[in-house]
Amino acid sequence: MTTFAFEAEGLVKRFKKTTALDGIDLAARQGTVLGVLGPNGAGKTTAVRILATLLRPDAGRAVVGGFDVLRDAAKVRRTIGLTGQYASVDEDLTGMENLVLIGQLLDLRGTEARARASELLAEFGLSEAGGRTAKTYSGGMRRRLDLAASLVGRPDVIYLDEPTTGLDPAKREDVWGIIRRLVGDGVTILLTTQYLEEADALADDISVIDRGKVIANGTPAELKRVVGGQTVFVRTADPERVTEAAAILADIAGRPAESPGRGMATVPVVGDTAFTEIVRRIDAAGIRVTELSLHLPKLDEVFFTLTGRHTEDEAA
């Protein structure tokens, strides 16, 4: 029998006329990362808030660390750490005061709370900023303080609601590093994101949600198979020779290449060897390229494949 660190079944949540969750199932095994991938308004935050005991579902059931979120909310709260989508640090307090307060609320003794706070500030590169009010922090620093705050009590299950949205690529890598370390220590993580790339890099399993429903579910590899895997992109140094490159792409992919612009060609590929094969053939043909890359599909493309709609339709 598999033991799930958290498991939700048939969660339904309505806000007046909007159905935010329409019978959603989510589960993660101990020590794994579940990536919840979905566009704006899909219901990611709502699901996290139910699992964090901040919202009561209208229907369905959720169990975290063996405790029911409704009946044993207090025990669930001892198990979890939450980093919400919108930074929930107190701007008028210093980084240190923020973390010490949480330590005190988690029943650490004064000295313990301060030691734990300094330790976390050091781990997140905030030691120097620890004495300043969070008001003065940059976006990335706030995010890190927020993450640190959710780790004070060494929770077994951590919810990270879009932890990298709005961060520059280097800061994003930092956060990814933190997440990998946490998983290495046996923590179970629920990570919501709008980037397939991020879910692919971190998650053991991915649930794609749309309009409050899970529309696809599986390992990153399975999901990529469903959505047509990756895309190869090439830009030739001599735009005239792009037709030759396109022919090579088409040959290996087994389908015609598209041209997103002058001197460019792109084609979806499947299999582990397609890209290296393309590199070899282009090299052998003596075609010089200024760019040759392999991309995961964008969330929008994933959506289009799975639902036949683009994510922009949500806004309408």
């Binding site: 005991t53 901040l54 709260r77 005190q104």
Partner: protein
Amino acid sequence: MTITVDQAASVAVSPATRPFTRTRHILALARRSLIKTMRTPEQLIDVTLQPIIFVLVYVYLLGGAVAGNTHDYLQFLLPAIMVQTVLFGGMATGVNLNTDIKKGVFDRFRSLPIARSAPLIGSVLGDLIRYVVAMVSLFIAGYILGFRIGTNLPATVAACLLTMGFTFCVSWIIVLFGVLMREPGGVQGTAFLVLFPLTFGTTMITPASTLPGWLQTWVNVNPVNHMMEAARGLMVGGPVAEHLPWVGFWSIGLLAVFAPLAVRAYRRRT
């Protein structure tokens, strides 16, 4: 920069089962409110200057007309203004709470294994210190203008403590608005609508005998009026005993009704 997170690191995190858990949580959260108040001097200036301005305006505009001279009027007015000041101070609690909830700071508290009421009680308690600041500055200004305690120091301290206890109970009405409403501005407006008849439907600025009959009826049941009369009695002399039961009754009643309502609303707020 490298970030390492070592879950098995040096500091032991072993939530000890210690007594008075909830009290400690409330005090930690009250301390947070206090720090915030100290770091936002605008709020302190507000509670410090506003009562002094009220005193100046009333004393010099109405003093002669109501009491014949400004000194007697100041003796009459100051204890009541003290009650008003502290009550208005309680309005800020609701506004601050609303801001905290909106910003998501309270989401973190709600995800922690602490009593749901702790963040609310902590905020209300932490704000009491603002009242102390307001009272002290009011007394200093009053003293300079010529106010003198007519009874004794213990009675005056009792008046201050009674006012703070009373406000602690009344402010749960505003806490309820703070939790229920969507915008801090709305909280301010609604709180004012509630506080206005409570603070001005009193003998704060004129004796009851000058008021029309219907207003006297309201004044007689208005809890804030009884609080003001009691404060007056304790500070400058006059009947106290007849007002105390009213103050106690209303304080306990408002607390018993509005504190649970506020906690309930807070628990349900999405």
